[in-house]
């Protein structure tokens, strides 16, 4: 399945073209797809959840015409930027859609949810028929501690109980952060926040 939502307006494309992303030298080497199945119920240790290096949350220099508070997701580099004033942004490491499940577009946060419930998609039930068809939110839930729904799509920015997947292309099109980061982001952005999802690096 290839999902390429065409939400981009020309204005947004022009703005993005003006944005300058600053990927680290590691980024190209990290574009590796993982073949990891979900682990419902798995609860990572605090050590596992502690990211290091580029994917650790950090403030970076970031030039864009987008207003502070805007989220810009760079799928190819596996970063989510929350635009800050004065050419700065908070940068979070993310996991993205695996090959064929990546997309780009312009969205808004339509809903926020603490400890979201999880419903494994049909193809996962087919592979892992022992999974419950619904798992109530909580520690160990594959969607992690927080979820932010993207418009009317099936996609979300959410947490994860698999911190080792950050920096990799593994999901079905959602964007995942470690629980500490997704909680931090959740507290910073309201419903209605503009989100720009892009695939190609625009230098």
């Amino acid at each position: 399945m290839t999902v390429r939502a065409s939400f981009f307006g020309s204005a947004a494309a022009a703005v993005l073209a003006a944005a300058v992303f600053l990927p680290g030298p590691f980024a190209a080497a990290q574009k590796i797809d993982m073949n990891v199945v979900d682990q419902p119920g798995y609860q990572p240790t605090p050590e596992e959840e502690q990211l290091s290096g580029a994917y650790e949350k950090q403030e970076v220099f970031f030039r864009t015409n987008e207003a502070p508070g805007t989220i810009i997701i760079d799928t190819s580099q596996r970063f989510l930027y929350l635009v800050q004033p004065n050419n700065r942004a908070l940068r979070y490491g993310i996991g993205v859609g695996r090959d064929g499940f990546q997309w780009s577009g312009l969205q808004k946060i339509s809903r926020k949810q603490e400890w979201p419930d999880w419903r494994p998609p049909p193809e996962m039930i087919e592979r892992q028929p022992y999974l419950p068809r619904f798992m109530a939110g909580g520690p160990g839930n594959p969607l992690g501690a927080r979820a932010m729904y993207l418009g009317q799509t099936v996609y979300r920015i959410h947490g994860t109980n698999q911190p080792q997947t950050i920096g990799h292309a593994i999901s079905s099109g959602c964007f995942r952060l470690v629980n500490e980061d997704v909680t931090d982001l959740y507290d910073r952005v309201p419903v209605g926040t503009k989100i720009i999802i892009k695939q190609a690096v625009a230098l």
């Binding site: 682990q39 419902p40 119920g41 798995y42 609860q43 419930d117 049909p122 039930i125 592979r127 892992q128 028929p129 022992y130 419950p132 068809r133 619904f134 798992m135 109530a136 939110g137 909580g138 520690p139 160990g140």
Partner: protein, 157 residues
Amino acid sequence: MGIALRGGALALARVGFVTAFVAGCATQPPPAPVVAAPSVSPDALVGKWGFAAYHRDSDRARTIKEALAQCNRPYVIAKGPNGGVMMNLADQAELSELVLKAGPDGKTYLGPAGDAATADDRQVLDVDPNSFTTVWVDPDNASRYGTSVYERCGKRA
């Protein structure tokens, strides 16, 4: 005839002597465990079920509702060839025949034939014609999968 009877009596006496001798110098064998029949019939589990799970008791009520809502992709339990039920063990995509077992603690377990309350078993709780609940015995499985609720699709009267 009389000789035969007398020979048989002698043989029995010898057996009795040997038995008494052996019993006198060997450890007393443990009494055979008294295994009560499980209180749940396999037929009670057969059918199509909405299947959901939770970790926090506060989520039980809404999880039951969600289980019912999952009847569009039910978990199907069929009767096994040996009188058990066909279900998945934890993390096993292939079905296995599981049997209901009464544990020494008086609880009902569901798992492979053999002793009750082993790591592959789950405890069966709150069984009624339209629902049942299970919890894995293995702590890791229990931690990962929480409490499972099964709600019958197309409820019985």
